[in-house]
Every structure is written in C-alpha cells, then in structure tokens.
C-alpha cells in the first residue's frame, strides 16, 4: 500500500521522493517509515533525497528529516523536486538517451550516488545507477539497468546484470578495469590513456563496443 503513497525516483540530477497529495500527514509519515524500513539499505549512507515542500509545515518537515536521518540519509525540501519530475523533463531525458518509447518504464527507478565510490566498495541495484562522482580502482558497480558515471570510471562496472543486453555504461572518462554488460565481458587494454571525451559502452553484434558521445 505504501508503495503508491511514497515513491522514490531518480531524475537527471538526484533522487526524489514523490508523495501522494491526497494522503493526510500522519498516514504519510507511517508510509515513509514503512518504505524506508524496506528500502533504506539500497541507498548508501549520506544519500541526499529531495522532495517537494508540498505545503508541509516546519514541524512536519523536521519530523520527516528525522526519519531519514535515522538511516543516515538526508532529506531536502526543494521545489526542484516538483519541476524536474514534470513529464516534459522526462521525455527530454529519454530522447537524450535514444531510448525507444516503450522502455520508459525501466529508467523510472534509478539509484543515485552523489559521491566518489572508493576502492573496496560495491554498489548493486536492480535498477539503473547514476553516479555523480568517480568510481575508483577496486570499486564495483552492478546494475540491473544501465550505469551512468558523471566522473572518471576506473573500477569494474556491470550493467544489465540480470541479462538486459540493451543496458549500457556511460562515463565522462571511461577507463574501467573491466566492463560487463549482460553476460559479456570486456577488459581494458593494458595501458589505458586518460580519455577526454565521454564514452558509451554497449552491445553491438554480440560484442561490447565503445563509442564517444556528446553530453
């Protein structure tokens, strides 16, 4: 039930919590608690989640922030959360990524990490993953969907980990030790130069290929 009242979504820049407008506050609070109890583990500590102020009073805002704080997550109230989720913004998102319209559903849920992922860390998610930071050597990102890294990728990345051959990996500097997409593996050349252009890795004719992209 709480699934319809409280939703987490990724947009281009971060993670957003959408709340049902018609649910009264005490019920909303219970629903948030229930959702976090289920899902908080999939968000790394320190993740910032934005939500629209939606006319909440200061007391309600403080109470909600405290709930997130218990899971070491940060809740921010921002009008941005409302605007960015407008349908127009989403279709732009889709166009940008060259996705056929029918696949829209899949990008809806996205895990967003707003920091550098360091060696020894593993991020795994059933959804797509957006990382606003670097992925360092020794770090591992595993996503059911695609992986987008707004930074340098030197770790191991596995997109489409449950068999999605349409999944891809994008990074500002794509220099991972290994790229895996679905059940294919590509390893990096033994001496890798630093790239100065964003690149995308995807499957073409049964092979992982890399092409540079504009963004």
């Amino acid at each position: 039930m709480s699934d319809n009242v409280v939703k987490f979504k990724g947009n281009g820049t971060g993670l957003i919590m959408l709340l049902d407008q018609n649910t009264p506050y005490p019920k909303l609070e219970a629903a948030i608690k229930a959702r976090l109890a289920e899902n908080a583990k999939s968000f790394p500590a320190g993740t910032v989640i934005k939500t629209s102020p939606n006319g909440f009073g200061q007391k309600a805002q403080a109470a909600m922030m405290a709930i997130f704080d218990e899971y070491s997550l940060k809740l921010e109230f921002s009008d941005e959360a409302l605007v960015r989720n407008a349908p127009a913004a989403r279709s732009e998102h889709r166009a940008h990524r060259d996705m056929p319209a029918g696949r829209d559903e899949r990008v809806e849920e996205m895990l967003v990490i707003n920091r550098t992922v360091r060696g020894g860390e593993e991020i795994s998610s059933k959804s797509s993953v957006l990382i606003c930071g670097n992925v360092n050597p020794g770090a591992q990102i595993i996503a059911g969907g695609s992986i987008d890294i707004r930074g340098t990728c030197r770790g191991v990345v596995h997109a489409g980990a449950f068999g999605d051959t349409e999944a891809f990996v994008i990074a500002d500097n794509l220099m991972p030790v290994q790229i895996r997409i679905a059940d294919l593996i590509a390893r990096s050349p033994d001496n890798m130069e630093k790239r100065d252009k964003a690149e995308r890795a995807f499957i073409k004719d049964g092979q992982i290929v890399i092409e540079s992209i504009e963004r």
């Binding site: 320190g46 920091r115 360091r118 060696g119 020894g120 020794g138 340098t152």
Partner: protein, 262 residues
C-alpha cells in the same frame, strides 16, 4: 578548542608513527599541549621514536581498564614539557580496548590538552575502528605508489562510513627524481584518485631514519628537508596558509653520474 586527530593509512609502514611523532613534537615546539596516544597495541614503537621507552610505567590498557588514572600513565617528554605520550601495551592485543573506552578517555583529555593525536595500527580491522572513533580529524598517510594509494582510498571510504568528514592527506617518502622520470606517481595522479585536500608532502629523506635511531624526531633540528616538510604540516594544522615546498631536482652532477652509469 582542543582537537582529536587520528593518523591512519591502511597500508602498513608508510609513515604513520613517524608522522605522529613529528607533528606532536612540532605542536609542542609551538607551545601547544599535546598527548600522543599509541593504539598499535602489541607493536608499540611511538615511544622509541620519541626516545621514551625507558620511562614507561603504565600503558593505555591500564588506563582503559581503570587500574590507574590517565595522568599516571602519561609519560612527559624530556625536552618538550608540554608533550606527553600515552604508550600502548607491548603484550596485549588490539582487542583489549574498544571504541567507547577511547572516546571516554579522549573526552577527559580534551579538558586539559590542546591536541590529542592517535597513532593508528595498519589495516581496517577492529584496531582501526577503535582508533578513529574519537577523532574529529583524520590524517591519511600514503606513499606515491599504487598499492599505498589504493589502500588510502579504501581507508577514506571507511572514514566516510564512520562519519568522519574532516579528512586530510599526507603524501610521504616522495622521491622527486623518480617523479620527474615518471617512475613514481605525482601529486596530480594521487589527487585524481583520492580527491581529498592535501596538507603534507614529505620527501624521502635518510635524516628521518637517523633521527629515529636517535630517538629525536627529524622536525627538531629543522634543517633537513623532511623536517621542514613536517614543520609546514604543523603550521597548516594550526590554520596557516603555507605553500608546498619545491623539492630540489636532481643536480647536474648527479645526472651526469647517472648518464655514465656511475
């Protein structure tokens, strides 16, 4: 406002204890009151670097287990009167103190001393978790080589998970000639990966070893390159803006010698 600083690294042998001793002495030379806590239980050697081994009566475990008040266990430095060492036990193991005990102790020490500096054991196990528990600031020591930088990266991740957000980097044992030839990581390579602010670049300097053997950290004489680098770190810890020093490049003669394989 007193500060609790932990000196940590991940990889062993990169210079944590050397850094702790030098920064401690440097702060005391500026008149600050300082307690150095050795938490590398079972492998203690901070006392050796400070030349205080023969003065140890009690240790950290005696204090955390309540056998003696901390004042009784503190060893005052013979030359710098505001510098104290809280030595660790030579015989017990790293599990003999827990994070809560160290937090309680540091809160006591904060009332009386300006700086409390904790020398951390290598690794990311229990001993590390205990050592960082009480700290406001973490100094991560690394060397310009890939394995040390990767371990530093892991440590920075661990510190982040422990909610330590004031983390500073010290790069130790830099060899300018090797960096110049491209045989050693340079600061750009290191910053590229670690992306935290750096407060120290210390050259590889045999005076460090000489000083260690004398039981007097290299910062005391102040004339060596490493000594100067540590003096600068101390200044930066005290909030001063000090530019990083240029290391002298290999001289013409040395290069000539190398060219002729001498």
């Amino acid at each position: 406002m007193s500060q609790v600083i932990v000196v940590t690294s991940g990889k062993g042998g990169v210079g944590k204890t050397t850094t702790t001793a030098n920064i401690g002495v440097g702060l005391a030379m500026r008149g600050k009151s300082v307690v150095l806590i050795d938490t590398d239980t079972g492998l203690r050697n901070l006392d050796l670097l400070l030349g205080l081994e023969n003065r140890i009566m009690y240790d950290l475990v005696d204090v955390t287990e309540g056998r003696v008040p901390y004042k009784k266990a503190l060893v005052r430095h013979k030359k710098f009167e505001t510098l104290f060492l809280l030595p660790t036990s030579q015989v017990k193991d790293k599990s003999s103190i827990n994070p809560a005990q160290l937090i309680v102790l540091c809160n006591e020490l904060r009332k009386e001393y300006d700086y409390i500096i904790i020398d951390c054991p290598a690794g990311i196990e229990q001993g590390f978790q205990t050592a960082i528990a009480a700290a406001d600031t973490a100094l991560v020591v690394t060397m310009p080589e890939i394995s040390a930088v990767r371990d530093a990266d892991k440590i920075i991740g661990e510190l982040g998970r422990a909610d330590k957000d004031n983390i500073k980097l010290i790069v130790n044992r830099i060899r300018p000639q090797m960096v110049e030839k491209g045989d050693m990581l340079d600061m750009n390579d290191i910053n590229d990966i670690l992306s935290i602010s750096c407060i120290g670049q210390v050259p590889d300097d045999e005076m460090v070893v000489t000083a260690t053997n004398k039981g007097e950290p290299v910062i005391v004489s102040g004339s060596s390159l490493a000594g100067k680098a540590y003096t600068n770190i101390v200044g930066r810890i005290c909030g001063e803006e000090i530019p990083f020093m240029e290391f002298p490049k290999e001289g013409f003669f040395a290069r000539l010698k190398r060219a002729f394989g001498m």
